[in-house]
């Protein structure tokens, strides 16, 4: 599959690495070139400098042919906006986004975005660990 990942932080970079190992075609976007140091040394996908909320940058990242778009930046609102552009403007078949704020995540889920909140997931996980 062709996958565009916006945000090359720890999670974004690791995700890019493991998806590539599975044979997917990856493009990673970040506004800071320094972030690309996190990519594995043998990463053979595309690392593209640019803002994922910009239609032109998304086009250059190959969003029009992408099967999946993942919004993984630190900013909830940035993720929400980029994800909606990918879904509603470019009609990417599958769009995932990270939204830290559980309330916002819930709302955008009801609006049809596939969003997950690391806050909720991690809290549940720790709770389970404690109670097991």
């Amino acid at each position: 599959m062709k996958i565009v990942i916006m945000g090359c932080g720890r999670v974004g970079a690791q995700l890019a690495g493991i998806l590539e190992q599975d044979g997917h075609e990856i493009t990673v976007l970040d506004i800071d070139a320094y972030s690309f140091r996190r990519l594995p040394p043998d990463f053979r996908g595309t690392a593209l400098l640019g803002n994922g909320m910009d239609e032109e940058v998304l086009r250059r990242a190959g969003i029009e042919e992408a099967d999946v778009f993942v919004a993984m930046t630190q900013g909830d609102n940035r993720n929400v906006m980029a994800a909606q552009i990918a879904k509603h403007i470019f009609n990417v078949p599958r769009v995932l986004s990270r939204i830290y704020d559980p309330l916002r995540q819930e709302m955008y889920e009801t609006l049809g975005l596939e969003a997950f909140s690391p806050t909720t997931i991690f809290a549940e996980l720790v709770k389970e660990k404690i109670e097991e």
């Binding site: 909320m53 900013g75 509603h88 916002r104 709302m107």
Partner: protein, 220 residues
Amino acid sequence: MYIVIVGGGRVGYYLARALLNEGHEIVLLEKNARFCDIINEELGSICLQGDGCEAATLAEVGTGRADMLVAVTGDDEDNLVACQVAKHKFNVPRTIARIRNPQNEAIFKKLGIDVTVSATNIILEAIEKEVPTHPLTHLLMRSDKGLEIVEVRITSDAKTIGKPVKAVSLPEGTKLALVIPMNRKPVIPNPNTIIREGDQIVALTSLELEEELRAKLTGL
């Protein structure tokens, strides 16, 4: 009206002040505590410290009964989210977002924001109007309806000077509304109105046809 403003920068501050003077009930949400203090000192207790993109903050100020939410922070994505939360969680009837990147205008419309205001576009239009040689000025744009009102200037090199309006084959879907001659009173054009140097012609057009309209009117 009860109006919630998100963002207490310069735009938010002056907007709140103007709306208060008109007698509206205003609440301003601003993340930065220092900005909040300054605003509350100058305008009375209208500013609450908090993130206007968060449903909890919006609930606290009673956004459910707001007639309008205006998001004027410096970040387009924050303005988008504040408006969407207001619309979908609190059913606010009218949401207005400030945008910095003019490209986002179409995106915001598509994502359900009622009105967008692009400072960049407004500045461009204002400058266009002041540049006397600029052949085409945008007076009003309704991008959601695909309509605009433009002003075309007949410069001295125009090939249509001295010709009646009927001799110009205007693109279908455009209409001349007014001719403002240099030293005479404005007239509503009829087919026999003669185009003269210095005329400012106000016309209704669509975005796609504006260039063709300008070309036909000036013959350039």
